[in-house]
Symmetry: D2
Subunit: 363 residues, 4 copies
């Protein structure tokens, strides 16, 4: 009997379970068994941590957030962090994983993960382990695929928050600053800002200055709108007119959550004397039931990944090229950010509505 | 001052208001005034029914379902019905509308509507009225655009229904048949079926027979699953082995709602002796708050439509070609259905999961 | 080790699983084992169908709809149907169930069910089986408790539907008739109608005539409101001025779903010449994730039921007497409907807002 | 024509608009006009800020969060802050408000507000202004009414957050600390904690120590549950074993948001070496669409308030005494907190499930 392995790596993301479900179901229809490694790549090392996944394990997985296999950002696989230098997984780790892979009699390993996990997957592939990738990044910032799962759920979470803040802001004549995920790419803030009616959108791709934000707030006051909604990606930051992306030395992304929103809110309150409050969505974006969009994307990704295994198309990952799912070499996908084009249609749309990116004065 | 007109035609759809909002906002930023005709095309005829739309009219429009301008499937503009012969709008009607258009000093008319309304728009364009189109079809069955607004909201509504029926079906060991929209194309049933974990999907594009459905139900029983979820598009129907699409002589689409689900459920109950219940979503799919996906799509469509006006690109409509919004000639868009490819990736994905399309035996 | 049994009987209802979870958790904290009988009372008869419930079975139960134990309206326990004559469970059935109960070494049986299931529970109690009841009726029509679980979820489902229909009704100048559950009591329609802004509410407790509804629709037209939302309980029906409740001879409640809405809609359309559409919520109200209100009520009910067992207070069921949960004798609870008081505060509130109960003219 | 006034005071709360709608509708049915003062009590002072509310202003108000009248915590009415000494509104302010009230020919003023606003209302009443109160406190901590509107919506928001955090916590083997509102009373944290499956609940009424929380986390680890959900009211705080409520000198409640969650999370992480994250719901709880429960409660409150005006029952406020709405003297309601009874049924329910209140060791 053919056996395949699957693991989920990196940060949690809505839809991981739906990918697992699709893989196990599609594999079972071919008569294959699926082993799930637990705790990310770590589960492949001694002492092995895995379990056989059967139909009974799939109950409710389509709509349950998280991953039943667990995941981790840490461990013996020293993945690259952020977009700094790529670090190599030590050979003895690759060797141990490969040996376990072979001992278990696996045909292929399906790696569901972001840029970091896919980088490890590529190294395993080069080391001789047949791998197939499923891309995962809640920020939607992977160049090789137009959309990744979890993104739509995160956007929905942020839009729901904007809807909530809208009424309280209007009732109290306040400014609200909502912080979303988006370390290097501002897709969540941009999409949610447009869909949720934000007045100001701050993203890493577009440097901002406070004068511009203040001018927007004053303009709204002049139009009789005494409240303003600001949405900011966690990676948008400007100090003293100089734009800087967040480049945390630490691998712990969450430690920085909330810093931007509080700083932006304080600065706005000081400059406008308007009551300004901040809300940080943080992990609320990662959890919960995936949206229908994410559920179907996950399902298609999972099924396509099993097809790639069947075709022996190793070293590839599945990717969305609307309206199709297509394979792309993992090597072509890693390390290449898909950021918001500053002059793209989405930004132009936002500007055409009068949405401020915080740089209108200087541009 | 430049003045443009806008109207919404055909059946109601989540996101119409979001399109109106985007058009008015984007027009206002250019210093243009927007007139909204009420009750669809009918509002352009004597006695004129329109109003000037200003920022004050836009409050809350981004997330409110329906259309503040009203809409209609009926009236003096004798649009073609369904996909039968195209009927011409009488010249005296076109003439009256054109004269009113000119008397109001409008530069362009933005028509937000489906195949029927866009057909009228094209005839007006050929008659000398500058028009720009925004495509609307909840069924997502227009060939010229990969996605139309309202579709994602309808899918979300259907998935929510499947989630609800899932637990009650499992608790009572029942079969449930859920009927969604989709007269000629089964996109809603297909997407929702995949995202909501349906076991059987019936769509107009794939003829079905009851033997196949019954076999699927028995197979599930054998696997210890004593319940089954069937999702069917309103246009899926097969009698005596012969597949027929619904081709209502009447223009009143809704009169047929519910017929399919009840018939399919009765047939299944008779053949399997399992308790089988049906639910018809009907107008629940049309109403309510648009999803974030639809809100951003509507906003982009509305802004792009105003850009087409600015460029004088009349006779065109906006369309989604991911990741961009692009103009396409209305003439190229009307009368061309985008149906589910029977061998496409989505159907293959569903089959790979074991989802039954009701034709497994005969194929 | 103390062992208790639990079963869920009658129609499905959101929150059953949350009750099971609370019972198993509270029992386990006392060091007790819980056996769950499957398929309602039927699981207590030969061949026995039950399983031991442990912490591992509880994962996700708090928010999953349905019942993992299954339930049934049918079987060898010939429960009374509706509110007709109470039929006795045959002695040989009671005897068999009691013997199995004793063989399993159970201390008490917790019965989660509606009027029918509680009637059986009372007969078992009188036959010598220690029972404790947890009341369940989605219609909220049990006199002994101010609220039952599932009701809040059903109301939320109906309000969501009204919200959706509101915008489509307004866009098309239509009348919509929404049918909810409520066979003998109109609580769901009344609560949802008030919370969802219905214009007309039809409930079994208040006879209605079409003249009154038509007058309301005309009055709204005169005020410039060209649409009307009607919400009707499935049990509201009046013909020719004579009020009749639905008294189905059959035990199959669902067979009648949709009859009222379609008839009321047809009658309104004929009398007003306004486009009138109907939507039947049906089983959508029964399924899905319970609301927070229902989840906490279920949890409190489950914990209290275990307390009653600990106190040996058999023959009692838990009941909500705000803000407390209190025990009441099952005998005092069964067969006593809690219907909407025609002159109560809720109806007066609705009337004060101008909501029509369809009897304004004749009263 | 009879004229009444209405204003909303204090912090924003879901359902304020639904109260306004009910008051205006019920008043209009009596032939009365309703004037809405803007910006809280401040709108009654020179320069007057008010507007006549008609049916046209009510569109969508039932489900829109916030208050169209605006509200404020600040201004010339020097209300008492928190539960410190009651400060008197200066006589010249009361006099000015009364004079404006009389000049406008108002029969009564309906004040929708919390403890602070009702205290002002009582002083106005004693000064000779006929007032009727509608209680508002998102914390649900007013003794005179079993429930206030906004509370159910806030609980639902917190439960949704717990549902989201549940899956991400389980996937990453983390501890999460969720902070909700609840300055002096822990109702939101308690209800949401029970309905959302929290493992630890921290409320102002029950002092806690970290040893107890750590013990609970370790106990869960021993049971194979490697994650823990903590929900804490903003007012729960203990330092060095000594329990202290937050007693902010400042009137600005929101300034303290987030302090507790971060401190509790840091302490837990340090003591357990488990990754611990915090999320602060903050204003998300205040905004957004009210739940059906809140919508019906608001509607009943609004209608009842108009009835009190009709009966001349001034100096009273409406209150929920299930299943009825009843009037109570405002004087009996203000300054009396309804806190969670430490030995009440809700806390006992939570304990019976194994939920830890952070004081199990020391008690």
């Amino acid at each position: 009997m053919v056996r395949i392995g699957i693991l989920t790596g990196g940060g949690d993301c809505p839809g991981l379970n739906a990918v697992i479900r699709a893989v196990v179901k599609a594999a079972a229809r071919r008569g294959w068994e699926t082993l799930g490694f637990e705790g990310g790549f770590e589960g492949m090392l001694d002492p092995l941590s895995y379990r056989s996944l059967t139909a009974n394990d799939l109950d409710g997985l389509l709509f349950r957030g998280g991953t039943i296999l667990g995941t981790s950002n840490r461990g013996r696989f020293a993945a690259k962090t952020g977009h700094s230098e790529v670090r190599r997984v030590p050979d003895e780790i690759l060797s141990e994983a490969k040996q376990n892979f072979e001992t278990l009699g696996l045909r292929c390993l399906i790696v569901v993960g972001g840029d970091g996990s896919l980088t490890i997957a590529q190294q395993m592939y080069e080391y001789g382990v047949p791998v197939v990738g499923v891309p995962k990044t809640i920020d939607n910032d992977l160049q090789a695929t137009l959309q990744t799962f979890g993104f739509d759920t995160a956007v929905a979470c942020a839009v729901d928050a904007l809807d909530r803040l809208h009424t309280t802001a209007a009732s109290h004549n306040r400014v609200f600053v909502l912080e979303t995920m988006g370390r290097y790419a501002g897709w969540i803030a941009l999409y949610a800002g447009i869909a949720g009616g934000a007045d100001v959108i701050l993203i890493p791709e577009l440097p901002f200055n406070y004068e511009s934000i203040v001018a927007k707030i004053h303009q709204r006051e002049a139009e009789g709108k005494h409240f303003t909604l600001v949405i900011t990606a966690e990676g948008a930051l400007q100090q003293g007119g100089t734009y800087t992306t967040l480049a945390p030395a630490s691998s712990d992304r969450e430690a920085h959550l909330g810093g931007i929103a509080a700083r932006v809110a304080a600065e706005i309150e000081q400059r406008t004397a308007k009551e300004t409050r901040s809300v940080v969505l943080g992990h609320l974006q990662r959890g919960g039931m995936p949206t229908p969009v994410d559920r179907q994307l996950c399902t298609r990704f999972g099924v396509s990944a099993v097809e790639l295994v069947a075709e022996g198309k190793y070293g590839h990952m599945v990717a969305l090229h609307p309206p199709e799912i297509k394979p792309v070499p993992i090597l072509d996908a890693i390390g290449k950010l898909r950021t918001v084009p500053p002059d793209g249609e989405m930004v132009r749309t936002a500007r055409a509505l009068g949405i401020c990116f915080g740089n209108e004065i200087t541009m």
